[in-house]
């Protein structure tokens, strides 16, 4: 039986979302397959790693008992031994528990987890892992880089500007003037590297723009300002696959542009219409229309753009592509990519005919296939260089 380590938590503003993704959408269905030994590896907010079956219990986190647990428990270490092993000290006579990991299933959202950092570590360790590789994660988690890659692949993107925190601090008036000269209100101000809609503001005036950038600078050193797409239909498309891609259903969040998906809307109340119910499905991101009610032509156009983006950014395993549609001009713009969708977007996959158990099994298979392919690539080159010394 192969051992799968599910890594979650992490030094990210999306720490809590990651816990739910790991426990509800990954560990539970993985254990139900009865084909894997599943190890829960939790990274605390200060970056310490813990490995324990107790960490599979959501009540440890929801009750706040996690603080007491962290206080009492020794962090573990990672052994890079031509692969990856978890090492736990028993505290008695130097005895250690070592568990060799066959596959890693990252469930960390945002910084140090979804942005390529963890993937870099796992590549170094030489262990297969689920989801996008390091380079695709880096691109996907930088909203500016992602748009630049899309543009270079002839994929339409909405008008945008980037701002560095240092530039804004030194010469905010110039920065604001520059933005207003190339973009029209209303605009969206976003931290470049954050997901789950944290730090995002919709702005309608210079003052709001300034405030919005200040808020975003609190989270990131690089800010993106995007012009709002008129007659907006916001859609998102989860996709799985390495070379052969399989899209789930195009999903449309049931929110108005003025109450766009902020963190509260997405995760805290099941959507702003959540308590009232209404049409659509309640997924990890509140109420949405699933599948999005678009005419066939527009649906296929958006789906194809989603697949093109996934391919252009070099995504693998799983990712979710967000797009913006101008319903009058019927233009579809790429917005951003989420290389690890919250809860794997399992509600959407289920509606598309893929059960949670099948989804995690497929992702493990894709991870192994990607790893095997990488193993065939030659990374060594023999030279006489050292013999000169």
């Amino acid at each position: 039986m192969k051992t799968v380590a599910v890594i979650f938590g992490g030094r990210s503003t999306e720490h809590d979302v990651s816990i739910v993704t790991a426990l509800a959408s990954i560990i539970k269905p993985l254990e139900l397959t009865k084909q894997y030994k599943v190890e829960a590896v939790y990274i605390s907010k200060n970056g310490a790693w813990f490995w324990d079956d107790k960490l599979k219990d959501i009540t440890l986190f929801s009750s706040g008992m996690i603080q007491e647990y962290l206080h009492k428990t020794q962090p573990i270490s990672i052994q890079l031994d031509g692969g990856m092993s978890l090492v736990k000290s028993s505290g008695i006579a130097g005895r250690k528990t070592i568990r060799k990991i066959d596959i890693v299933f990252p469930a960390t959202h945002g910084t140090f987890g979804e942005d390529g950092s963890l993937m870099g570590l796992l590549r170094m360790a030489g262990v297969p892992f689920v989801g996008c590789d390091m380079d695709a994660s880096v691109l996907a988690m930088d909203k500016v880089l992602a748009k630049q890659v899309a543009e270079s692949n002839n994929i339409p993107v909405s008008k945008y500007q980037k701002v560095y925190r240092d530039d804004f601090v030194r010469k905010s008036a110039d920065v604001l003037r520059g933005i207003e000269s190339s973009l029209n209100f209303p605009m969206f101000v976003k931290p470049v590297h954050l997901g789950s809609s944290i730090g995002i503001t919709r702005v309608n005036s210079t003052q709001e723009l300034q405030n919005g950038i200040e808020v975003a600078c609190h989270y990131d050193s690089k800010i993106i300002i995007e012009e709002e797409v008129p007659n907006l239909i916001e859609v998102t498309l989860p996709i799985i696959g390495n070379d052969q891609l399989k899209p789930a259903l195009l999903e449309k969040p049931l929110t108005k542009p003025e109450d766009f998906f902020d963190f509260e809307t997405k995760y805290m109340h099941g959507g702003k219409g959540g308590k009232k119910g209404g049409k659509g499905i309640k997924g990890s991101q509140g109420y949405s229309e699933l599948p999005a009610q678009l005419d066939d032509e527009l649906y296929k156009k958006a789906e194809q753009i989603g697949l093109n983006v996934y391919h252009a950014l070099g995504c693998s395993g799983i990712a979710r592509v967000d797009m913006l549609i101008d319903s009058k001009s019927r233009m579809v713009y790429f917005n951003e990519v989420n290389p690890l969708p919250g809860g794997l977007y399992e509600h959407n996959w289920r509606a598309a005919g893929v059960s949670s158990v099948d989804l995690v099994q497929t992702l493990i298979r894709l991870a192994e296939e990607k790893f095997q392919k990488q193993q065939q690539e030659n990374t060594m080159f023999s030279t006489n260089f050292l013999q000169q010394f």
Binding site: K28, L32, R350, A351, G353, V357
Partner: protein, 467 residues
């Protein structure tokens, strides 16, 4: 591990739970314990119901257990070798104490009280004027009883035996406590667990109409063969006239019992056509010459048409109008755990966990084949109480599954799993096979296994009292 399971503090609790599973029948309990079961594998499907009798048995069990533990501890302290003997004897003494207590309780308290109840009910029955209908069969009894209740209630005051209460004492309690004199129809469900049961029940209720719903190999530990069950059913002819007897069209039944034969295609001159089944129910037209009735029922599957037209015939005999009959049948809905459809996040689940015979399995698989679905999944542990027929029944089940073209079969692991697998292999089944060792975990996590468009059928459950 198995031996260790007899020495845990939970042992008395598990033993009382199993006593309850055997309806406090001391000999069945003793037969079970002689098979030396692993107690750690018990209670995967249910929990002990804390009735007064269960509490009493628990008190006895734990009292004996604690005394024994004290005895062992004391002898350990005084370093006596008796401690080892005491330790070995703990489970035996607890089992023996529970058996004796149960036996005494049954003989001294329960049986005399039940005899008194039955005598009182017999007296009351003499004063009741309602038409009495007996429902007999290896399967489909509860469905037939509920159909009769729903349809006949459109024109008559009807009383039916509650739930699965189909033994003499439960009939007597029902008559004494729940049946009023104004009831025009009394429906009795007859349970058969050993030869002579049907005669005993008919002697008590003295029916004037009888429905024999079907015969299948159930309770084969008590009946030597299917013929002996049919013979038991046939004794109903001593009480009910031929023209008032309704029989499911199975050769073994119709060769032994005279009466009106019904099937999904006809009863007498009444014939069915335009049959269709969806997740919302079944539709058909019932025609006799120029007379035609358009019927809709919430029950799923063609196999329900036979029982429905038998009920229509009885309703007509009792004087109900066609409108009343159509309205009554339209009100019939799937019964709990019997081909009961429910939706789960876009998937359909057909809960048929109360199905416990091969004919029901056949009907369920036919329904699964007929219903539309992206993926079709079939979940079963197989059947209990099949006696000498165990191998042939489960080979047949494997063949039936193979012929249904399913995407996935989930078998709950037990003593018949290998036989079903052999049947699947023989039937060249090509879909996925999953062997599940923890049924409760599987049932309570269905949402993780299913996706929109799937149809999953759960057939039968495997009681803890079987290996």
């Amino acid at each position: 591990m198995k031996l260790f399971s007899y020495f845990t503090p939970k042992t008395p609790y598990i033993l009382v739970y199993m006593l309850q599973q055997f309806e406090y029948n001391p000999s069945k309990f003793l037969n079970w314990i002689f098979t030396y079961p692993d107690l750690s594998n018990i209670q995967k499907r249910g929990k002990l119901e804390l009735t007064a009798r269960a509490k009493l048995m628990l008190a006895i069990g734990y009292f004996i257990w604690i005394i024994n533990v004290f005895f062992v501890v004391y002898n350990t302290i005084i370093m006596s070798v008796t401690a080892i003997i005491g330790l070995i004897m703990i489970p035996n003494i607890v089992i023996f104490s529970l058996f004796i207590s149960d036996y005494l309780l049954q003989s001294v308290v329960v049986n005399p009280a039940q005899n008194k109840e039955i005598t009182k009910a017999k007296q009351k029955l003499k004063t009741l004027k309602g038409v009495r209908i007996a429902v007999i069969g290896s399967f489909g009894k509860t469905t037939m009883k509920d159909l009769l209740n729903t349809v006949l209630s459109e024109g008559k005051k009807v009383a039916v035996t509650p739930g699965n209460k189909n033994v003499l004492i439960s009939h007597a309690r029902w008559i004494n406590r729940d049946v009023d004199e104004d009831k025009e129809v009394l429906v009795f469900e007859y349970g058969e667990s050993e030869p002579g049961d049907i005669n005993k029940l008919a002697n008590f209720s003295k029916p004037s109409i009888a429905v024999v719903t079907g015969i299948a190999p159930v309770h084969m530990d008590s009946y030597p063969n299917l013929n002996s069950i049919a013979k038991d059913f046939a004794c109903i002819s001593d009480f009910v006239k031929t023209e008032d007897t309704y029989i499911n069209n199975q050769e073994l039944l119709t060769s032994k019992i005279q009466g009106n034969i019904y099937s999904s295609s006809n009863i007498g001159k009444w014939e069915t056509n335009n049959v269709s089944t969806t997740f919302e129910g079944t539709n058909f037209t019932l025609t006799n010459g120029d007379e035609s009735l358009k019927i809709h029922t919430g029950l799923l599957g063609i196999h329900n048409i036979g029982p429905i037209i038998a009920v229509i015939a009885i309703a007509k005999k009792l004087g109900l109008k066609n409108e009343q009959i159509i309205t009554g049948v339209a009100k019939t809905l799937p019964f709990e755990h019997r081909m009961e459809p429910r939706q789960l996040q876009g998937a359909w689940i057909i809960d048929d966990t109360y199905n416990g015979n091969i004919e029901g399995m056949r009907a369920g698989l036919a329904l699964l084949k007929e219903l539309p679905g992206k993926r079709k999944i079939y979940v079963t542990p197989g059947l209990v109480d099949q006696g000498n027929e165990t191998d042939s029944v489960h080979l047949e089940l494997g063949n039936l599954i193979s012929a249904t073209n399913l995407d996935k079969v989930v078998l709950m692991k037990n003593s018949v799993t290998d036989i079903i697998l052999k049947g699947l292999k023989g039937g060249n089944y090509s879909g996925e096979i999953v062997i599940e060792s923890n049924p409760l975990e599987y049932y309570s996590n269905l949402e993780h296994y299913l996706a929109a468009g799937d149809v999953l059928m759960l057939q039968n459950d495997w009681p803890d009292s079987y290996k």
